[in-house]
Point group: C2
Amino acid sequence: MKLTYGERSAMAVNSVGKALFQLMEEKKTNLCVAVDVTTAEELLRIAAETGPYICLFKTHVDAVENFTESTAKSLLEIAQKEKFIILEDRKFADIGKTVSLQYGGGPMKIVTWADLVTCHSISGENAIIGLKSASKDLPRGCFLVAEMSSEGNLITPSYTKATLEMAEMHPEFVVGLVTQSIMKETSCGLIQLTPGVRISSGSVHSIFATDGLGQRWSSPEDAVLTRGADIVVVGRGITEARYILHILCEKGHVDEAMVKKTEDY
Amino acid sequence: MKLTYGERSAMAVNSVGKALFQLMEEKKTNLCVAVDVTTAEELLRIAAETGPYICLFKTHVDAVENFTESTAKSLLEIAQKEKFIILEDRKFADIGKTVSLQYGGGPMKIVTWADLVTCHSISGENAIIGLKSASKDLPRGCFLVAEMSSEGNLITPSYTKATLEMAEMHPEFVVGLVTQSIMKETSCGLIQLTPGVRISSGSVHSIFATDGLGQRWSSPEDAVLTRGADIVVVGRGITEARYILHILCEKGHVDEAMVKKTEDY
């Protein structure tokens, strides 16, 4: 079955998931930038510079020392101007009541500015229900972590399967899955988000490297063509060598991979 | 083998783990209060009120809207006066590099004020190594989450076993395990911390209840005597009905359970 991202948008249940598919189609990009910086200024600079080329902007604001409401406001303005969606990669991993407090409150008030968040399935489906209850009537959703890229991680195939089932049970809030390999049984309305991707300045083929803390990387092409990614998360590959992003987008490698992906359906 | 908490202190590798065992022995308490509040004022009030009766003060500061450096400073002063250890229940659940940034930086600078944090083993041992690298020369440590109490959680016996192995591999930073059942193979230098405990105003026997978001509770006696807890985490049971804490401590139920526990060794 061949389905474009636009067609899959109609199959998504969550409104942010629908919007994300539409952005991917309109902007012809399946790039997500992972922003691992420690100041609000860097965060906003990267948002403005990468904004035109990305569909998704992934943050870890609890590592940003001077993150305030004003930072969130500026980020939302850039997101509206450049048309991208904001994903706070919080990896919620507590019981339902606790994640609802962490999501809705605290110094960062994530629910007020992040369209999407990431959530581990480890504590059970009540984490999703807790997040949803804290989001009230805002258009919000989450990616569930179905697989991880780090060395020695404890996720098993049965854990992944249970996570997919949880996603299918809650399409009103779960927009997709954080994955490392193709999920053939997943509904076409769910989005596969693949981190651990690095844009090499040399070969466009698979590369593997580590950061000395067990993180493993592969290439965008490998992620999309072999591992079924709808969106590739490129972190240090963009922020440490931004020029590569421009070259890649201009040369259309990622667009080409996206087209190949849609032909596979 | 009979071992007192004092004797187990000598078997702990991490300095905060040692200090925690010593506090339990000196203050004759294995109570940890879980503080799920949303303002700094409430957090500090509970610290001052429960301080004399607890060994460990468990926070979720990312749910505290006006948490600042000044809150942390006040909390540290209370901790020093009342002699308890601070555990930020952050449940770190990302790759090594990311958790090191989240722990050491951001608006909350957890490493500067929390003696201990909780960490999931899901991403592999590099999460521990990442936390340790961010703690530099400070006396710091973590509890690894080996089991959860929430309904439908995805932790399996083999996941728990792998977590125990990870703890035994890193006793220089891991002070213990978050558990729901007795871990017979665990080194006596590691501490079992058991959440999901509620002090009933009626019976002191097992009670089971839920919060509508899948959390299940049992009694302190059940946690210590049946499930092998060294420290019981009492959350809403204390903060919603504080008088029970006082009654319980005065009547010595928890002390009694602690004595029975130490006799079991």
